[in-house]
Point group: D2
Chain length 323, copies 4
């Protein structure tokens, strides 16, 4: 970070449930850094205090789903339609020794829900809460499994941002539960420390927002809920003027990844691979068809989430094959 850039400590006065051109919490210059504490998916903070009513996005005129409250939005000066926002994720410091997960009656990869309702005739899953204890020194989480022979599971922590995105194009203001070409609730476990996330700018100012930290999660987030917790997040925000991308991209140092979100799952994979192909062609001097052949043999794919209302897939290419 150049010394001329500013570091902003963001203390949100309110949290939003939508990605979009909401009232900015902060206006920054490209190159600035933001540090903010996120709340968990139900709005609890690091001391398990709930979100006060006056800090919630709300309205008498419409209905908001109170899930995944977001820090921001951050207005980036100079960001215009057709630019690319560059988010360097420097730190996701967990600050609570507790994470919860749960089953919800009509949620998750197996319940066939559509937007706003179940697709099933039969009975929903039973509501159930799981309490994970986090050891922030050992960076592990433990869960009691009283009904199973194993008795208790201990797993490593790998915190990431479940939700991060900009205002959607066409003036859309999506709810915070839905991922799309603007990023959003991608629930992709590689959006972690020491990676760089590229987001297309659809609306002047970009309106970056983020939250929903997960302490750990499997591919697909199949029960619909990860280890939901809180963290202090440090992001350095850059801007590439005139660089146009169509879907979010991630560079983790080892891989280029392009991230597509839609339904069904194979269309996520198609979107992601075509974005990756564009990336290789435009930035790294690949012939399109040679890149397609090489990608077919060395590429990998991550199913980030497979939960309503859109699914997310990342297509990855190892950087060791870049010229």
């Amino acid at each position: 970070m150049a010394s001329s850039h500013t570091t902003h400590m963001l203390k949100p006065q309110r949290y939003w449930y939508t990605f979009g051109p909401n009232t900015p919490a902060l206006t920054i210059q490209p190159g600035d850094t933001i540090i903010a504490c996120t709340r968990d998916a139900r709005g609890l903070d690091e001391e398990m205090r709930p979100l006060p009513v006056e800090m919630k996005q709300q309205s008498d005129d419409t209905l908001y789903r109170e899930s995944n409250p977001l820090c921001g939005p951050i207005y980036v000066i100079g960001a215009e339609v057709g630019d690319t926002l560059v988010v360097n994720i420097h730190r996701i410091r967990l600050n609570r020794s507790y994470a919860w997960s749960r089953f919800m009656p009509r949620f998750g990869s197996f319940t066939g829900e559509g937007p706003g309702r179940t697709l099933l005739l039969n009975q929903p899953l039973e509501e159930r809460l799981f309490d994970w204890h986090l050891d922030l020194e050992k960076m592990t989480a433990t869960l009691d499994l009283p009904q199973s022979r194993l008795g208790r599971a201990e797993i490593p922590l790998r915190p990431f941002l479940g939700s991060i995105g900009v205002a959607p194009r066409f003036g859309r203001v999506e709810m915070s539960l839905s991922p799309g070409e603007y990023g959003g609730n991608m629930d992709y476990r590689e959006v972690t420390e020491n990676t760089t996330l590229y987001l297309p700018v659809w609306v002047k100012g970009a309106y970056l927002a983020f939250g929903d930290v997960h302490a750990a999660q499997g591919d697909g987030e199949i029960c619909g809920v990860a280890l939901e917790t809180t963290a202090e997040v440090t992001l350095e925000i850059g801007l590439e003027k005139g660089k146009t991308i169509s879907w979010p991209r991630l560079d983790d140092g080892q891989h280029l990844a392009a991230i597509g979100s839609t339904r069904p799952l194979e269309d996520c994979a198609r979107l992601a691979h075509l974005e990756l192909l564009d990336w290789l062609e435009s930035d790294y001097g690949f012939d399109r068809w040679e890149a397609f052949q090489l990608m077919s043999q060395v590429g990998s794919m991550h199913v980030a989430n497979m939960v309503d209302p859109n699914y997310t897939v990342a297509a990855r290419f190892p950087k060791r094959y870049l010229p």
Copy 2:
């Protein structure tokens, strides 16, 4: 219509490309009637004049797809979240002797597009415009087919509203190309004269908007474009307070139809049938499982459109089996 209700001649000062809580063109009381002239999907009016810049929804800050300009929105006094808007479609009077259809390079049921881009590696369709002549007395359309043995086709006209909807829930402002639980660009050819469309109210005031009249169209709108034209539309707007529905519903006198929009297509069908099941159960005294059996044997299904970004299916139940 009771004599105390007002008939509004709506002359739009501007047209919107989004469903949402945009600045109302009109504020009405439940029971009022609206008469308005729609523009076609490219913004041309009944004399083929393009939409002037100052009449377009626009912004320097974001990007709008200039497709399907909408009349409205109409703010309905007293409409609140959880109510149902009742739209009686009294008349769709075609007022132009010309309709166009076309192929677009990356559009339609067979090109596998995702939101904003193609899903295909290979080459797009060739752009092509089709000129349909409308005979408004005979109510037929003719198209020359110079390369085919048939030479020329004459088909009957059956005008309907390709797009009609309210502001989406969660404050979402979707582009006018996308159908959803708020209605929108459903492209359902039964949304025609002498039917009643029920729309869930997601935002206070409802914000009804409409346009995109099609003179004729097949199931699925498979090439992505119907007989695009203009009409004078007469709608009487009612309100059912405290009546809550989840997806649009249509009563054509002969059938109850529930309309679901998502992807993949089978999930549209599931959404629609479950909404129809709720309707039969709550309004007509059916036991849920008996209704499911009867619906399985006498129901019908329409694929309204199968074009990006969401598909639409209607599930129908003949009214003759209502008690």
Copy 3:
């Protein structure tokens, strides 16, 4: 029927649960007619007698699902790979005053089953049988609905062949529950009297088999089970040498229909429309793109079934637009 053709009264000695090159029940010449009595989906005959063990396709070596027992197969002399079998459905005479339908715990359009198992974590539907009384003079069916205000439903009968197909290509022997490019369990309610069904010949001799008569059914067969009953079926079998088609086609006098079966549902629709396009182009002198435009405006679509393991869609074109 020319006088030189033979009419065969087929009294099956056994019933098959698979489409494929099983031991022929009958060998015929093109032009011959077959009359046979089908059993219902559970193997019951017109007097409700179950299928004796010795009449079932069976083996100690493998497992058969005892559903949809089929009459045949019929070996058609001269039928070779690349020909088209022409099935004129002259009569489907119901011969039992009873039809059943049912809910099965993990079956139907809403239970998300995959081949051989459920896709759901949660609880299955409750098993339930529905008794429909058939009045073969009035051609109606009645069902008691004791829990519903309606009390009792009476619906018109419209018998059709739920299953009819040939041996699949590549030597495949599919179970009788699955539809495909060979026809099979399409459950398409337009495969009824006075229609002509065209089937591609994939295996020398064709090996036509049929059964699973439904007295009535809605689009999609959404609970997974129609009005299951028995009938005496009269089919006249023709052969078009050197005429090659890819998917089943149906001519009902008013429409040409092409029938695609796969998953997801939009791919059924795509298969069906492309087959229909081929038909218009090769047999009726249409230019491909002009046909695509016309079909988009006057075509209709039927969702025949939306039940595991493959779904079926018919794409239809009105014959009045043929040259």
Copy 4:
């Protein structure tokens, strides 16, 4: 291997294009080992000699797609419906310094093909062959990329069996291109040396067949073709009597993986996770819901192939969390 077990050197007299109860090439006892040389997907052997006509599965009566010729089938004495076949993959020794890959006009993850035909209106990909040179000492492959800045790619080899399976249930004989509950053309790159593959026995004798060795491949096999080559394969075959599974399972020493094949892709993922859940519950003393929670947080997913006619997904659970 106990000393009483036999090692069979299988020199195929013919190769099959179908999984099913074809004439066995070999009859073995559980515990025996097989060593066989596979041919590549086009039938070429280690010296690039094509498959002679008399060694091909063929028939004047039906049509075979000459792709993925299989070694076997192997009849396993004592294997009965409801048992599990245990395949220990001891060695896949590449024996040719050349592998090819290619683009085919209507094949791969992006061309939207259905069984037997394309789903697209527009033009297919251009046919193209890629020559990969294999260095069997360094275990690398190189490909010239003359149109790209990189110029040439060198990638590590990791040979696996693209196709391995048993005869399908219900007497089905699928073509060798299709994966399913019997295994088959899963194209899963973890089916490699030092893993154990479990296959459900659907037909007495199991009828194991295999081939289609890939020297390397990315997730999803997105262009539809991997590094196609030949190898000498060593398999030790075991049998678990009375142990019933529904889909293939793989143990690589570090993970349990369950493998589901169907369409759309999310249903593959559902099938795989439910099979994995059954595995954890029945073999390792997990409570179903506790296993579901733990699996959601530590599981991973592989998209094995996303190519017509069925897609394949593996759901994986780390063995370190087993009791």
